[in-house]
């Protein structure tokens, strides 16, 4: 049995005061993108050959670093590089609304930021400059934080990165999943009825019984 110990919540930091509006809301998050806390001194990683749609190279580096902790090299599993996790996350983010994109960008800034890290956890180095064990500790701190905003941030970042990896069908065999049944392959052979002069094709959804009251 592995049971976590609850930690006390500090006074004055409630969900109500921190999560005012938006995905994360509040001044603290906005600080993630502000000048005096701007990304500085983070690791530089190779960018996708076809470029980035939403994130800056610095934000991309944070996504890349988080993805390497969320998904570890493991026998029988494709690597984050094979899947292109951070790129996939950028593509997913490209399809959400502009305001949500901005919040994700701010979140990555706050996550990476040395000053925010110091305020939260006593670290001053950017997230991307920490070693793997330290990065895991930071992720756990966000996840288990008594500050609701950080738990929200962890959930949002985790969802994005996990989606970036597990969207790939190359991961299916690693989870023992055998993929959709073959019948789906017949899809393109079926007509798509759009009304008008075309008669409705017969099928399971067509009612052949007596008229209903």
């Amino acid at each position: 049995m592995d049971v976590p110990h609850p930690e006390p919540a500090p006074a004055g930091l409630s969900r109500r005061s921190l999560v005012k509006r938006g995905l994360l809301g509040g001044a603290l998050l906005a600080a993630g993108g502000a000048g005096f806390l701007a990304l500085r001194g983070g690791t530089v990683v190779a960018l996708p050959a076809d470029g980035l749609l939403v994130f800056t190279p610095a934000q991309f580096a944070v996504l890349d670093a988080v993805s390497r902790r969320m998904v570890r090299p493991r026998k029988g599993w494709p690597t984050v590089d094979q899947v292109g996790v951070a790129r996939a996350a950028d593509r997913i983010a490209a399809r959400v609304e502009a305001s949500a994109q901005k919040e994700l960008q701010q979140l990555l800034g706050l996550f990476e930021n040395g000053l925010a890290g110091f305020l939260f956890g006593g670290r001053t180095r950017p997230f991307t400059r920490l070693d793997g064990a330290e990065q895991d500790r930071v992720l756990s701190e966000w996840r288990d934080s008594s500050i609701a905003l950080r738990r929200t941030g962890y959930a949002a970042l985790r969802t994005l990165v996990i989606a970036g990896y597990y969207q790939s069908p190359t991961v299916w065999p690693s989870t023992g999943y055998d993929g959709p049944p073959a019948i789906f392959g017949l899809g393109p052979t079926f007509p798509e009825w759009r009304g008008g002069d075309e008669p409705r094709p017969d099928g399971n959804g067509v009612w052949h019984g007596e008229p209903l009251p």
Partner: protein, 519 residues
């Protein structure tokens, strides 16, 4: 004879266009479709607008990575503002009925009685709804799924309840020639699921209804005591971005059927706040999940997704939320998202997916006097994303903890080797004797345990008093002569059962009032 209507996509209308009809129906889910079919059957000219796309078995491919973006709100990532509750909700022609798990319950009598006694709802009873349910059940082939076709995933709940002496039942499903594939949540490749997409929407189109898919209604054209129609942005079917073309649809009557989040949002965008009641009393059947490692494979993605349930804990006495136990289908992408942790431990968990059974507890919110639910609000009016606030309170967590304990007991009774709650920081329980201690020690706060919902209700509550409700007992918006809301948003409380059949029944019953106002 009225010529057949059409189903049009966002690129089929190239210039700003105004069309006229008898009734404008906004939304194509369980409410809008049933309503529209009944109105066309009475000879009315109906235009239906749907924000999502028109996807059919021709394009369903059973892939999570394609299906969530195409068929679900916010690509399957809709959540409360604080991310503490994941919201699964349909967004396509057919709405939730295209992607739900086919579970069909009539509204419990005690819920209808509660609406009458506490919310002043008039004329809505089991007796009044019965003929509507009978017609719908016939048309949609709703029938109990036989025990011999139950998949291993549901068998765990069935067997566990049997061994513990808990009540259990077989789910009634809206399917015809179902092959027991298990992909109901990603679009049925056989048209075996009797969704609105393949039944009442085409029925209505054959009778002359026109459907505009990819049409995001931005506002109602509000006049004095009347609504003249609606104005919609057409969206590109590929990118989901506005094409720049505006579609205006004018009608004698307007029915808002966008569901419990988008209907209140549309009213608010149109300046209709129902004395402050629009967006309030939003309920979502908060769900907690326990997953169990079973000795034999259960292949939780395979076979009819829901076939067993237990009402054993549906009524737990005053001051406590009851919960309905069911089983969810689990595929890798959703599993990775909701199963907790990260790195090695998370991957190790996912490697056991074929052996992993999950049980869900659907908590019945909205019945207790002090349970006012959540709130739907606008963000910037130009945004399609709305603010969804659902504060989780001590009575929720009391129910979550009790439910997780009971689900663990059921899973162990069915032979589980290990049971895991979906706390952000993983909790694993290796034997029955540890269940209570582990769940008592686990943290019960927003964001520390995965909570989800696939049932959204309320936000435009019906009731007798305009000071406390949005629509009257004919689903007409208080103070408007020709504006109706016909979907799950009118429920003044949650139901305690999966909502689709309740929405079908109420929409079919309400069609008489909409028709009368459209004459």
């Amino acid at each position: 004879m009225i010529p057949a209507g059409r189903i049009l996509g966002g690129r089929d209308t190239l210039v700003n266009t105004t069309v006229h009809c008898d009734v404008v129906v906004v939304g194509s889910g369980a409410g809008g479709s049933v309503l529209a079919e009944r109105l066309t059957a009475r000879g009315l000219d109906v235009v239906m607008l749907e924000e999502g796309g028109y996807w059919t078995r021709r394009s369903f491919d059973g892939r999570e990575d394609h299906s969530y973006p195409r068929l679900y709100q916010e690509m399957g990532n809709r959540a409360t503002d604080d991310q503490s509750i994941l919201i699964l909700q349909g967004r396509n022609v057919g709405g939730g009925t295209t992607v739900n798990w086919c579970t069909s319950f009539r509204t419990p009598r005690r819920v209808l009685d509660h609406w009458r006694d506490r919310h002043g709802v008039k004329g809505l009873s089991e007796e009044v709804l019965a003929p509507h349910w009978e017609a719908i059940e016939k048309r949609l082939h709703i029938a109990e799924w036989p025990l011999e076709r139950m998949n291993s995933n549901n068998k765990v709940l069935w067997d566990g309840c049997g061994r513990l002496g808990y009540s259990r039942g077989l789910v009634r499903r809206n399917v015809n020639n179902c092959a027991n594939l298990g992909y109901c949540g990603l679009g049925c490749p056989l048209d075996a699921k009797m969704s609105m997409l393949v039944t009442l929407i085409p029925d209505a189109v054959e009778k002359g209804m026109t459907v505009y898919a990819n049409a995001s209604v931005r506002r109602l054209l509000v006049g004095t005591r009347r609504v003249d129609g609606v104005e919609a942005d057409l969206l590109d079917p590929e990118t989901d971005r506005p094409t720049g073309v505006t579609l205006t649809v004018k009608g004698r009557t307007v029915a808002v059927c966008g569901g419990a989040i988008n209907s209140p949002a549309l009213l608010l965008r149109s300046g209709l706040d129902g004395n402050g009641n629009v967006g309030k009393r939003f309920f979502l059947h908060p769900v907690v999940i326990m997953s169990a490692l079973m000795p034999d494979p259960v292949y939780p993605w395979s076979g009819a997704p829901q076939s067993a349930y237990s009402h054993h804990f549906s009524e737990r006495g005053p001051g406590k939320l009851g919960f309905l136990l069911e089983v969810p289908p689990i595929m890798p992408l959703i599993a990775a998202s909701v199963f907790p942790g990260f790195g090695e431990s998370h991957q190790a968990l996912l490697e056991t997916l074929p052996y992993t059974q999950s049980t869900i507890a659907i908590c019945h919110d909205g019945l207790m006097p002090d349970d006012v639910g959540g709130t739907i609000k606008l963000r910037d009016p130009s945004e399609r994303r709305v603010s969804i606030d659902y504060p989780l309170r001590p009575f929720h967590f009391e129910a979550f903890k009790a439910a997780c304990k009971e689900m663990a007991r059921i899973q162990f009774a069915a032979g589980a080797h290990e049971v895991r709650s979906l706390h952000a920081r993983p909790v694993r329980i290796e034997k029955l004797a540890d269940v209570d201690a582990a769940m008592d020690a686990a943290p019960w706060e927003p964001g520390r345990v995965r909570v989800a919902t696939a049932h959204q209700m309320g936000g435009c509550a019906m009731g007798g008093d305009p000071r406390t409700s949005v629509v009257d007992s004919t689903l007409r918006y208080h103070g408007m002569d020709n504006l109706f809301v016909v979907d799950g948003s009118v429920f003044p409380t949650a139901l305690g059962v999966n909502p689709q059949e309740s929405i079908f029944g109420v929409a079919r019953w309400a069609s008489q009032f909409v028709a009368a106002a459209s004459a």
